[in-house]
Amino acid sequence: MTIEETEKEIIEEFSLFDSWDDKYEYIIDLGKKLEPLEDQHKKDENRVRGCQSTVWLVADYRDGKIVYKADSDAVIVKGLISMLIRVLSGHKPDEIVNAKLNFINEIGMTSHLAQTRSNGLLSMVKQMKNYALAYKVKEGI
Protein backbone atom coordinates (compact mmCIF):
# COMPACT_ATOMS: atom_id res chain seq x y z
CA MET A 1 0.00 0.00 0.00
CA THR A 2 1.36 3.44 -0.87
CA ILE A 3 1.55 6.29 1.63
CA GLU A 4 -1.39 8.00 -0.03
CA GLU A 5 -3.49 4.85 0.02
CA THR A 6 -2.97 4.45 3.76
CA GLU A 7 -3.81 8.12 4.26
CA LYS A 8 -7.04 7.61 2.31
CA GLU A 9 -7.88 4.63 4.47
CA ILE A 10 -7.45 6.68 7.66
CA ILE A 11 -9.54 9.55 6.25
CA GLU A 12 -12.32 7.06 5.51
CA GLU A 13 -12.13 5.56 8.97
CA PHE A 14 -12.41 9.00 10.55
CA SER A 15 -15.38 9.91 8.37
CA LEU A 16 -17.36 7.25 10.22
CA PHE A 17 -17.13 9.13 13.52
CA ASP A 18 -19.94 11.52 14.41
CA SER A 19 -18.13 13.42 17.13
CA TRP A 20 -14.73 14.33 18.45
CA ASP A 21 -15.51 12.23 21.52
CA ASP A 22 -15.52 9.19 19.27
CA LYS A 23 -12.42 10.33 17.39
CA TYR A 24 -10.50 10.77 20.63
CA GLU A 25 -11.70 7.41 21.89
CA TYR A 26 -10.31 5.84 18.72
CA ILE A 27 -6.98 7.74 18.93
CA ILE A 28 -6.60 6.81 22.60
CA ASP A 29 -7.26 3.19 21.69
CA LEU A 30 -4.55 3.36 19.01
CA GLY A 31 -2.20 4.87 21.58
CA LYS A 32 -2.85 2.13 24.07
CA LYS A 33 -2.22 -0.52 21.43
CA LEU A 34 1.04 0.96 20.12
CA GLU A 35 3.88 -1.43 20.80
CA PRO A 36 5.97 0.07 23.61
CA LEU A 37 9.49 1.18 22.80
CA GLU A 38 12.27 -0.71 24.55
CA ASP A 39 13.75 1.29 27.46
CA GLN A 40 17.19 1.39 25.83
CA HIS A 41 15.75 3.71 23.15
CA LYS A 42 14.18 6.10 25.65
CA LYS A 43 17.16 8.40 25.80
CA ASP A 44 17.61 12.10 25.26
CA GLU A 45 18.97 11.88 21.72
CA ASN A 46 15.76 10.14 20.58
CA ARG A 47 13.47 12.75 22.08
CA VAL A 48 11.32 14.86 19.79
CA ARG A 49 11.51 18.54 20.75
CA GLY A 50 8.50 20.79 20.74
CA CYS A 51 6.08 18.44 22.45
CA GLN A 52 4.53 19.12 25.86
CA SER A 53 4.73 15.40 26.53
CA THR A 54 7.84 13.30 26.13
CA VAL A 55 8.06 11.62 22.74
CA TRP A 56 10.80 9.23 21.65
CA LEU A 57 11.27 8.26 18.04
CA VAL A 58 13.73 5.84 16.46
CA ALA A 59 14.16 4.77 12.86
CA ASP A 60 15.66 1.59 11.44
CA TYR A 61 16.81 1.24 7.86
CA ARG A 62 16.26 -2.23 6.41
CA ASP A 63 16.28 -3.34 2.77
CA GLY A 64 15.92 0.17 1.50
CA LYS A 65 12.98 0.94 3.76
CA ILE A 66 12.57 2.83 7.00
CA VAL A 67 10.84 1.29 9.99
CA TYR A 68 9.82 3.68 12.74
CA LYS A 69 9.21 2.95 16.37
CA ALA A 70 8.02 5.52 18.88
CA ASP A 71 6.58 6.01 22.31
CA SER A 72 5.24 8.74 24.54
CA ASP A 73 4.12 9.18 28.12
CA ALA A 74 0.88 10.76 26.88
CA VAL A 75 -1.62 8.49 25.22
CA ILE A 76 -3.29 10.85 22.71
CA VAL A 77 0.11 11.76 21.32
CA LYS A 78 0.87 8.05 21.16
CA GLY A 79 -2.27 7.52 19.13
CA LEU A 80 -1.20 10.25 16.72
CA ILE A 81 2.26 8.70 16.40
CA SER A 82 0.65 5.35 15.80
CA MET A 83 -1.17 6.84 12.78
CA LEU A 84 2.02 8.47 11.48
CA ILE A 85 3.87 5.15 11.80
CA ARG A 86 1.04 3.34 10.00
CA VAL A 87 1.30 5.81 7.13
CA LEU A 88 5.09 6.21 6.84
CA SER A 89 6.75 3.09 8.24
CA GLY A 90 7.97 0.54 5.70
CA HIS A 91 8.46 3.06 2.90
CA LYS A 92 11.53 4.23 1.02
CA PRO A 93 13.28 7.41 2.29
CA ASP A 94 12.39 9.26 -0.89
CA GLU A 95 8.69 8.47 -0.54
CA ILE A 96 8.72 9.62 3.08
CA VAL A 97 10.55 12.87 2.33
CA ASN A 98 7.99 13.70 -0.36
CA ALA A 99 4.88 12.60 1.54
CA LYS A 100 2.36 15.45 1.79
CA LEU A 101 0.50 13.90 4.72
CA ASN A 102 -2.75 15.64 3.89
CA PHE A 103 -4.60 13.25 6.14
CA ILE A 104 -3.61 15.24 9.22
CA ASN A 105 -5.60 18.19 7.92
CA GLU A 106 -8.33 16.05 6.38
CA ILE A 107 -9.23 14.38 9.66
CA GLY A 108 -9.34 17.81 11.29
CA MET A 109 -6.40 17.23 13.59
CA THR A 110 -4.55 20.50 12.97
CA SER A 111 -7.61 22.65 13.43
CA HIS A 112 -8.85 20.75 16.47
CA LEU A 113 -5.67 20.59 18.45
CA ALA A 114 -4.51 23.79 20.10
CA GLN A 115 -1.58 25.38 18.26
CA THR A 116 1.01 24.28 20.79
CA ARG A 117 -0.12 20.69 20.56
CA SER A 118 -0.36 20.70 16.82
CA ASN A 119 3.21 22.06 16.81
CA GLY A 120 4.17 18.93 18.71
CA LEU A 121 2.54 16.84 16.00
CA LEU A 122 4.39 18.80 13.33
CA SER A 123 7.65 18.29 15.24
CA MET A 124 7.08 14.56 15.04
CA VAL A 125 6.43 14.71 11.30
CA LYS A 126 9.54 16.81 10.85
CA GLN A 127 11.65 14.38 12.85
CA MET A 128 10.37 11.41 10.84
CA LYS A 129 11.19 13.22 7.61
CA ASN A 130 14.60 14.18 8.94
CA TYR A 131 15.43 10.52 9.50
CA ALA A 132 14.32 9.75 5.95
CA LEU A 133 16.39 12.60 4.57
CA ALA A 134 19.44 11.43 6.50
CA TYR A 135 19.14 7.90 5.10
CA LYS A 136 18.52 9.29 1.65
CA VAL A 137 21.72 11.31 1.78
CA LYS A 138 23.69 8.46 3.35
CA GLU A 139 22.61 6.00 0.66
CA GLY A 140 23.12 8.52 -2.12
CA ILE A 141 19.61 7.93 -3.43
Partner: protein, 414 residues
Protein backbone atom coordinates in the same frame (compact mmCIF):
# COMPACT_ATOMS: atom_id res chain seq x y z
CA UNK B 1 -12.80 59.20 29.50
CA UNK B 2 -13.39 55.79 30.98
CA UNK B 3 -17.01 54.94 31.42
CA UNK B 4 -17.79 53.96 34.91
CA UNK B 5 -20.03 50.99 35.40
CA UNK B 6 -22.36 50.58 38.29
CA UNK B 7 -21.28 47.37 39.92
CA UNK B 8 -23.66 45.44 42.10
CA UNK B 9 -22.56 45.58 45.70
CA UNK B 10 -24.00 42.18 46.50
CA UNK B 11 -21.89 39.58 44.78
CA UNK B 12 -23.97 38.42 41.85
CA UNK B 13 -21.80 36.21 39.68
CA UNK B 14 -24.32 36.13 36.82
CA UNK B 15 -24.36 39.92 36.71
CA UNK B 16 -20.57 40.00 36.78
CA UNK B 17 -20.37 37.51 33.91
CA UNK B 18 -22.36 39.91 31.74
CA UNK B 19 -19.44 42.36 31.87
CA UNK B 20 -17.17 39.81 30.15
CA UNK B 21 -18.27 39.36 26.53
CA UNK B 22 -15.94 36.42 25.88
CA UNK B 23 -17.81 34.30 28.40
CA UNK B 24 -20.70 34.11 25.95
CA UNK B 25 -18.72 32.18 23.38
CA UNK B 26 -18.74 28.48 22.77
CA UNK B 27 -15.72 26.23 22.42
CA UNK B 28 -16.07 22.92 20.60
CA UNK B 29 -19.82 23.45 20.55
CA UNK B 30 -20.12 23.91 24.30
CA UNK B 31 -20.27 27.02 26.51
CA UNK B 32 -16.75 28.06 27.44
CA UNK B 33 -15.56 27.24 30.94
CA UNK B 34 -12.48 29.40 31.48
CA UNK B 35 -10.28 28.06 34.28
CA UNK B 36 -6.95 29.38 33.04
CA UNK B 37 -7.11 32.64 34.94
CA UNK B 38 -3.68 32.30 36.52
CA UNK B 39 -2.27 32.45 32.99
CA UNK B 40 -4.38 35.45 32.04
CA UNK B 41 -7.80 36.73 33.03
CA UNK B 42 -10.56 37.70 30.63
CA UNK B 43 -11.31 41.37 30.08
CA UNK B 44 -14.48 43.21 31.10
CA UNK B 45 -16.26 45.44 28.60
CA UNK B 46 -15.05 48.59 30.40
CA UNK B 47 -11.45 47.63 29.63
CA UNK B 48 -12.25 46.88 25.99
CA UNK B 49 -14.15 50.20 25.80
CA UNK B 50 -11.18 52.09 27.28
CA UNK B 51 -8.95 50.69 24.53
CA UNK B 52 -11.45 51.55 21.80
CA UNK B 53 -12.14 55.00 23.25
CA UNK B 54 -8.46 55.82 23.26
CA UNK B 55 -7.91 54.79 19.66
CA UNK B 56 -11.15 56.36 18.42
CA UNK B 57 -11.10 59.46 20.60
CA UNK B 58 -7.71 60.74 21.61
CA UNK B 59 -4.85 58.64 20.22
CA UNK B 60 -1.66 60.70 20.42
CA UNK B 61 1.89 60.37 21.62
CA UNK B 62 2.19 61.53 25.18
CA UNK B 63 4.16 64.06 27.22
CA UNK B 64 5.77 66.35 24.67
CA UNK B 65 2.76 67.23 22.55
CA UNK B 66 1.14 70.61 23.02
CA UNK B 67 -2.04 69.78 21.16
CA UNK B 68 -5.32 68.70 22.76
CA UNK B 69 -5.13 65.03 21.87
CA UNK B 70 -1.64 64.73 23.34
CA UNK B 71 -2.79 66.44 26.51
CA UNK B 72 -5.80 64.16 26.87
CA UNK B 73 -3.71 61.07 26.23
CA UNK B 74 -1.03 62.20 28.68
CA UNK B 75 -3.61 62.91 31.38
CA UNK B 76 -5.26 59.51 30.96
CA UNK B 77 -1.91 57.73 30.82
CA UNK B 78 -0.56 59.45 33.91
CA UNK B 79 -3.78 58.89 35.83
CA UNK B 80 -3.10 55.14 35.63
CA UNK B 81 0.07 55.82 37.62
CA UNK B 82 -2.01 57.43 40.36
CA UNK B 83 -4.44 54.54 40.25
CA UNK B 84 -1.63 52.01 40.65
CA UNK B 85 -0.12 54.04 43.47
CA UNK B 86 -3.42 53.80 45.33
CA UNK B 87 -3.99 50.16 44.34
CA UNK B 88 -0.76 48.97 45.97
CA UNK B 89 -0.46 51.84 48.50
CA UNK B 90 2.87 53.19 47.27
CA UNK B 91 4.32 56.28 48.97
CA UNK B 92 4.39 58.37 45.80
CA UNK B 93 3.45 58.22 42.14
CA UNK B 94 7.10 58.60 41.04
CA UNK B 95 7.78 55.18 42.47
CA UNK B 96 5.52 53.50 39.93
CA UNK B 97 7.44 52.56 36.78
CA UNK B 98 5.42 51.28 33.86
CA UNK B 99 6.76 48.06 32.36
CA UNK B 100 5.58 45.50 29.84
CA UNK B 101 4.81 43.16 32.73
CA UNK B 102 6.23 41.25 35.66
CA UNK B 103 9.03 39.69 33.64
CA UNK B 104 10.34 43.05 32.49
CA UNK B 105 10.08 44.42 36.01
CA UNK B 106 12.30 41.65 37.37
CA UNK B 107 14.79 41.98 34.52
CA UNK B 108 14.91 45.74 35.03
CA UNK B 109 15.86 45.35 38.69
CA UNK B 110 18.37 42.56 37.95
CA UNK B 111 20.04 44.55 35.18
CA UNK B 112 20.15 47.91 36.98
CA UNK B 113 20.23 47.50 40.76
CA UNK B 114 21.71 44.04 40.33
CA UNK B 115 24.55 44.95 38.00
CA UNK B 116 25.40 47.97 40.12
CA UNK B 117 25.36 46.25 43.50
CA UNK B 118 25.99 42.53 43.13
CA UNK B 119 29.67 41.59 43.33
CA UNK B 120 31.65 38.40 43.11
CA UNK B 121 30.77 35.98 45.90
CA UNK B 122 27.55 37.82 46.85
CA UNK B 123 24.47 35.72 47.37
CA UNK B 124 21.02 36.10 45.84
CA UNK B 125 18.20 34.10 47.41
CA UNK B 126 15.19 32.83 45.47
CA UNK B 127 12.90 29.90 46.25
CA UNK B 128 12.18 26.47 44.89
CA UNK B 129 8.70 27.56 43.76
CA UNK B 130 9.69 30.45 41.49
CA UNK B 131 8.36 30.96 37.98
CA UNK B 132 11.17 30.84 35.42
CA UNK B 133 10.89 34.62 35.12
CA UNK B 134 12.11 34.96 38.69
CA UNK B 135 14.93 32.45 38.17
CA UNK B 136 16.49 33.23 34.81
CA UNK B 137 17.21 36.99 35.32
CA UNK B 138 19.05 36.16 38.57
CA UNK B 139 20.84 33.25 36.98
CA UNK B 140 22.08 35.55 34.20
CA UNK B 141 23.20 38.15 36.75
CA UNK B 142 24.90 35.54 38.95
CA UNK B 143 26.76 34.15 35.96
CA UNK B 144 27.96 37.58 34.93
CA UNK B 145 29.02 38.66 38.43
CA UNK B 146 30.22 35.29 39.72
CA UNK B 147 27.56 35.59 42.42
CA UNK B 148 25.81 32.64 44.02
CA UNK B 149 22.12 31.71 43.77
CA UNK B 150 20.70 30.21 46.95
CA UNK B 151 17.37 28.41 46.98
CA UNK B 152 14.81 28.36 49.81
CA UNK B 153 13.51 24.78 49.95
CA UNK B 154 9.81 23.91 50.22
CA UNK B 155 7.96 21.19 52.09
CA UNK B 156 5.74 18.53 50.50
CA UNK B 157 2.66 20.73 50.92
CA UNK B 158 4.31 23.42 48.79
CA UNK B 159 5.19 25.88 51.55
CA UNK B 160 8.53 27.62 52.06
CA UNK B 161 10.71 26.16 54.77
CA UNK B 162 11.21 29.38 56.69
CA UNK B 163 13.78 27.94 59.08
CA UNK B 164 15.92 26.98 56.11
CA UNK B 165 15.49 30.48 54.72
CA UNK B 166 16.85 31.95 57.92
CA UNK B 167 19.84 29.62 57.71
CA UNK B 168 20.58 30.90 54.20
CA UNK B 169 20.73 34.51 55.36
CA UNK B 170 24.16 35.93 56.07
CA UNK B 171 26.25 39.03 55.50
CA UNK B 172 26.82 37.68 51.96
CA UNK B 173 23.09 37.90 51.19
CA UNK B 174 22.55 40.95 49.01
CA UNK B 175 19.15 40.27 47.47
CA UNK B 176 16.06 38.15 48.03
CA UNK B 177 13.63 37.76 45.14
CA UNK B 178 10.52 35.91 46.15
CA UNK B 179 7.18 35.07 44.61
CA UNK B 180 4.21 36.35 46.63
CA UNK B 181 1.87 33.62 45.39
CA UNK B 182 2.96 30.49 43.53
CA UNK B 183 1.49 30.27 40.04
CA UNK B 184 1.58 26.48 40.03
CA UNK B 185 0.39 25.75 43.57
CA UNK B 186 -1.43 28.84 44.79
CA UNK B 187 0.68 29.06 47.98
CA UNK B 188 0.69 32.50 49.62
CA UNK B 189 4.17 33.21 50.95
CA UNK B 190 4.83 35.25 54.14
CA UNK B 191 6.53 38.06 52.21
CA UNK B 192 6.39 40.59 55.05
CA UNK B 193 8.28 38.20 57.33
CA UNK B 194 10.73 37.44 54.52
CA UNK B 195 11.35 41.14 53.95
CA UNK B 196 11.95 41.77 57.66
CA UNK B 197 14.42 38.90 57.92
CA UNK B 198 16.22 39.85 54.73
CA UNK B 199 16.51 43.47 55.86
CA UNK B 200 18.04 42.34 59.15
CA UNK B 201 21.13 41.24 57.20
CA UNK B 202 21.03 44.29 54.95
CA UNK B 203 19.63 42.55 51.86
CA UNK B 204 17.10 44.09 49.48
CA UNK B 205 13.84 42.34 48.63
CA UNK B 206 11.79 42.02 45.46
CA UNK B 207 8.30 40.56 45.65
CA UNK B 208 6.87 39.03 42.46
CA UNK B 209 3.20 39.92 42.62
CA UNK B 210 2.16 38.46 39.26
CA UNK B 211 -0.33 36.08 40.88
CA UNK B 212 -1.10 37.90 44.11
CA UNK B 213 -2.16 41.38 43.00
CA UNK B 214 -5.50 40.24 41.58
CA UNK B 215 -6.47 38.23 44.67
CA UNK B 216 -4.93 39.93 47.71
CA UNK B 217 -4.93 43.47 49.09
CA UNK B 218 -1.50 44.81 48.30
CA UNK B 219 0.18 47.31 50.59
CA UNK B 220 3.82 47.68 49.59
CA UNK B 221 4.58 49.91 52.57
CA UNK B 222 3.23 47.42 55.05
CA UNK B 223 4.98 44.58 53.19
CA UNK B 224 8.16 46.67 53.48
CA UNK B 225 9.54 45.25 50.24
CA UNK B 226 12.10 47.21 48.24
CA UNK B 227 10.59 46.27 44.89
CA UNK B 228 7.20 44.93 43.86
CA UNK B 229 6.32 43.84 40.33
CA UNK B 230 3.08 42.74 38.70
CA UNK B 231 1.20 42.51 35.38
CA UNK B 232 -2.02 44.08 34.19
CA UNK B 233 -3.25 41.09 32.19
CA UNK B 234 -3.62 38.86 35.24
CA UNK B 235 -5.80 41.56 36.78
CA UNK B 236 -8.51 41.84 34.10
CA UNK B 237 -6.42 44.39 32.20
CA UNK B 238 -4.67 44.30 28.81
CA UNK B 239 -1.56 42.28 28.03
CA UNK B 240 1.86 43.89 27.60
CA UNK B 241 1.51 46.25 30.56
CA UNK B 242 2.66 46.06 34.14
CA UNK B 243 4.35 48.03 36.85
CA UNK B 244 7.43 48.08 39.00
CA UNK B 245 7.28 49.72 42.41
CA UNK B 246 10.55 50.56 44.12
CA UNK B 247 11.79 52.41 47.16
CA UNK B 248 12.57 55.94 46.08
CA UNK B 249 16.20 56.09 47.20
CA UNK B 250 16.90 52.81 45.39
CA UNK B 251 15.22 53.89 42.15
CA UNK B 252 17.07 57.20 42.26
CA UNK B 253 20.44 55.52 42.70
CA UNK B 254 19.84 52.92 39.99
CA UNK B 255 21.24 53.48 36.50
CA UNK B 256 18.74 53.56 33.60
CA UNK B 257 17.63 50.26 32.06
CA UNK B 258 17.20 51.24 28.43
CA UNK B 259 18.29 54.32 26.58
CA UNK B 260 16.03 56.34 24.31
CA UNK B 261 13.53 59.14 24.25
CA UNK B 262 11.68 60.30 27.37
CA UNK B 263 14.26 58.90 29.79
CA UNK B 264 16.70 61.81 29.34
CA UNK B 265 16.81 65.46 30.33
CA UNK B 266 19.54 66.72 28.04
CA UNK B 267 21.49 64.96 25.36
CA UNK B 268 24.71 65.97 23.67
CA UNK B 269 27.30 63.66 22.18
CA UNK B 270 29.48 64.25 25.22
CA UNK B 271 27.10 64.18 28.17
CA UNK B 272 23.62 62.98 28.89
CA UNK B 273 21.60 63.72 32.00
CA UNK B 274 18.91 61.28 33.00
CA UNK B 275 15.32 62.30 33.48
CA UNK B 276 13.68 62.22 36.92
CA UNK B 277 11.67 59.31 38.28
CA UNK B 278 9.69 57.56 36.96
CA UNK B 279 10.65 58.61 33.42
CA UNK B 280 14.29 57.59 33.78
CA UNK B 281 13.09 54.01 33.39
CA UNK B 282 10.54 54.59 30.64
CA UNK B 283 12.49 54.93 27.40
CA UNK B 284 10.65 55.28 24.13
CA UNK B 285 6.95 55.59 23.38
CA UNK B 286 5.22 53.53 26.03
CA UNK B 287 2.25 51.20 25.76
CA UNK B 288 -0.22 54.08 25.99
CA UNK B 289 -3.50 52.33 25.16
CA UNK B 290 -2.98 49.35 27.45
CA UNK B 291 -1.76 51.55 30.27
CA UNK B 292 -4.87 53.71 30.04
CA UNK B 293 -7.14 50.68 29.89
CA UNK B 294 -5.49 49.09 32.90
CA UNK B 295 -6.95 51.83 35.06
CA UNK B 296 -10.40 50.69 34.01
CA UNK B 297 -9.51 47.14 35.07
CA UNK B 298 -8.41 48.26 38.53
CA UNK B 299 -11.51 50.43 38.95
CA UNK B 300 -13.71 47.56 37.85
CA UNK B 301 -12.10 45.19 40.36
CA UNK B 302 -12.19 47.70 43.21
CA UNK B 303 -15.78 48.54 42.27
CA UNK B 304 -16.86 44.95 42.82
CA UNK B 305 -14.68 44.70 45.88
CA UNK B 306 -11.57 42.61 46.30
CA UNK B 307 -12.87 41.25 49.59
CA UNK B 308 -16.12 40.10 47.95
CA UNK B 309 -14.24 38.59 45.00
CA UNK B 310 -11.90 36.78 47.35
CA UNK B 311 -14.79 35.33 49.32
CA UNK B 312 -16.37 34.06 46.09
CA UNK B 313 -13.12 32.61 44.77
CA UNK B 314 -12.29 30.94 48.08
CA UNK B 315 -15.73 29.34 48.14
CA UNK B 316 -15.09 27.98 44.63
CA UNK B 317 -11.67 26.71 45.70
CA UNK B 318 -13.16 24.93 48.72
CA UNK B 319 -15.93 23.38 46.62
CA UNK B 320 -13.54 22.32 43.83
CA UNK B 321 -11.08 20.84 46.34
CA UNK B 322 -13.86 18.83 47.96
CA UNK B 323 -15.19 17.59 44.60
CA UNK B 324 -11.76 16.77 43.15
CA UNK B 325 -10.81 14.78 46.24
CA UNK B 326 -13.72 12.44 45.50
CA UNK B 327 -12.11 11.38 42.23
CA UNK B 328 -10.23 8.10 42.67
CA UNK B 329 -6.50 8.37 41.92
CA UNK B 330 -6.52 12.18 42.01
CA UNK B 331 -3.87 13.91 44.08
CA UNK B 332 -3.92 17.65 44.74
CA UNK B 333 -0.49 19.21 44.37
CA UNK B 334 0.03 22.11 46.75
CA UNK B 335 -1.75 21.89 50.07
CA UNK B 336 -0.52 25.08 51.67
CA UNK B 337 -2.60 26.40 54.54
CA UNK B 338 -2.59 29.85 52.88
CA UNK B 339 -3.71 29.56 49.26
CA UNK B 340 -5.39 31.59 46.57
CA UNK B 341 -7.91 30.07 44.16
CA UNK B 342 -5.51 27.90 42.19
CA UNK B 343 -5.79 24.14 42.25
CA UNK B 344 -3.20 21.86 40.70
CA UNK B 345 -3.60 18.10 40.52
CA UNK B 346 -2.39 14.87 38.98
CA UNK B 347 -4.46 11.78 38.29
CA UNK B 348 -2.86 8.37 38.47
CA UNK B 349 -2.47 6.71 35.08
CA UNK B 350 -3.12 9.90 33.10
CA UNK B 351 -0.88 12.52 31.53
CA UNK B 352 -1.82 16.18 32.09
CA UNK B 353 -1.64 16.78 28.34
CA UNK B 354 -4.27 14.12 27.66
CA UNK B 355 -6.53 15.58 30.34
CA UNK B 356 -6.06 19.05 28.87
CA UNK B 357 -6.98 17.92 25.34
CA UNK B 358 -10.06 16.01 26.49
CA UNK B 359 -11.24 18.87 28.71
CA UNK B 360 -10.73 21.33 25.84
CA UNK B 361 -12.91 19.05 23.75
CA UNK B 362 -15.68 19.75 26.29
CA UNK B 363 -15.09 23.51 26.17
CA UNK B 364 -13.11 23.62 29.42
CA UNK B 365 -9.87 25.62 29.40
CA UNK B 366 -7.28 24.55 31.98
CA UNK B 367 -3.50 24.73 31.95
CA UNK B 368 -1.36 21.62 31.80
CA UNK B 369 2.38 21.07 32.06
CA UNK B 370 5.16 22.42 34.22
CA UNK B 371 3.69 25.96 34.48
CA UNK B 372 7.12 27.50 33.76
CA UNK B 373 8.32 26.19 37.11
CA UNK B 374 10.45 23.19 36.21
CA UNK B 375 12.58 23.24 39.40
CA UNK B 376 9.33 23.07 41.39
CA UNK B 377 8.09 20.08 39.38
CA UNK B 378 11.46 18.35 39.92
CA UNK B 379 11.22 18.98 43.66
CA UNK B 380 7.73 17.47 43.77
CA UNK B 381 8.87 14.56 41.54
CA UNK B 382 6.14 15.17 38.97
CA UNK B 383 6.33 15.92 35.26
CA UNK B 384 3.57 18.47 35.42
CA UNK B 385 0.07 19.06 36.66
CA UNK B 386 -3.37 20.02 35.44
CA UNK B 387 -4.25 23.39 36.91
CA UNK B 388 -7.62 25.07 37.32
CA UNK B 389 -7.52 28.67 38.51
CA UNK B 390 -10.61 30.69 39.36
CA UNK B 391 -11.60 34.30 38.82
CA UNK B 392 -14.50 36.49 39.89
CA UNK B 393 -16.71 35.26 37.02
CA UNK B 394 -16.42 31.51 37.60
CA UNK B 395 -19.33 29.51 38.99
CA UNK B 396 -20.07 26.36 40.94
CA UNK B 397 -21.79 24.96 37.84
CA UNK B 398 -18.54 25.38 35.93
CA UNK B 399 -16.67 23.45 38.61
CA UNK B 400 -19.28 20.71 38.19
CA UNK B 401 -18.55 20.65 34.46
CA UNK B 402 -14.84 20.27 35.19
CA UNK B 403 -15.55 17.33 37.50
CA UNK B 404 -17.84 15.72 34.93
CA UNK B 405 -15.23 16.29 32.21
CA UNK B 406 -12.54 14.68 34.35
CA UNK B 407 -14.70 11.63 35.02
CA UNK B 408 -15.29 11.20 31.29
CA UNK B 409 -11.59 11.70 30.50
CA UNK B 410 -10.50 9.18 33.11
CA UNK B 411 -12.94 6.62 31.72
CA UNK B 412 -11.28 6.96 28.31
CA UNK B 413 -7.69 7.17 29.50
CA UNK B 414 -7.34 4.69 32.33
Amino acid sequence: MIESVAIEKNFDVQAIRKHFPILEREVKGKPLVYFDNAATTQKPQVVIDALVNYYTGYNANIHRGIHTLAEEATAAFESTRDAIQAFINAESREQIIFTSGTTEGINLVAQTWGRQNIMEGDEIIISNMEHHSNIVPWYILAQEKKAVLKIIPINDDGELEMEEFEKLLSSKTKFVSIVHVSNALGTINPVKEIAEKAHSVGAKVLVDGAQSTVHLDIDVQDMACDFFVFSSHKLYGPTGMGALYGKKELLEAMPPYQGGGEMIKDVSFNTITWNDLPYKFEAGTPNIADTIAFKAAMEFTTGIGKEEIRRHENALLAYATEQLEEIPGLRIIGRAKQKISVISFVIEGTHPQDLGILLDNRGIAVRTGHHCAQPLMDRLCIRGTTRASFAMYNTVEEVDRLIEGLHKAIKLLV
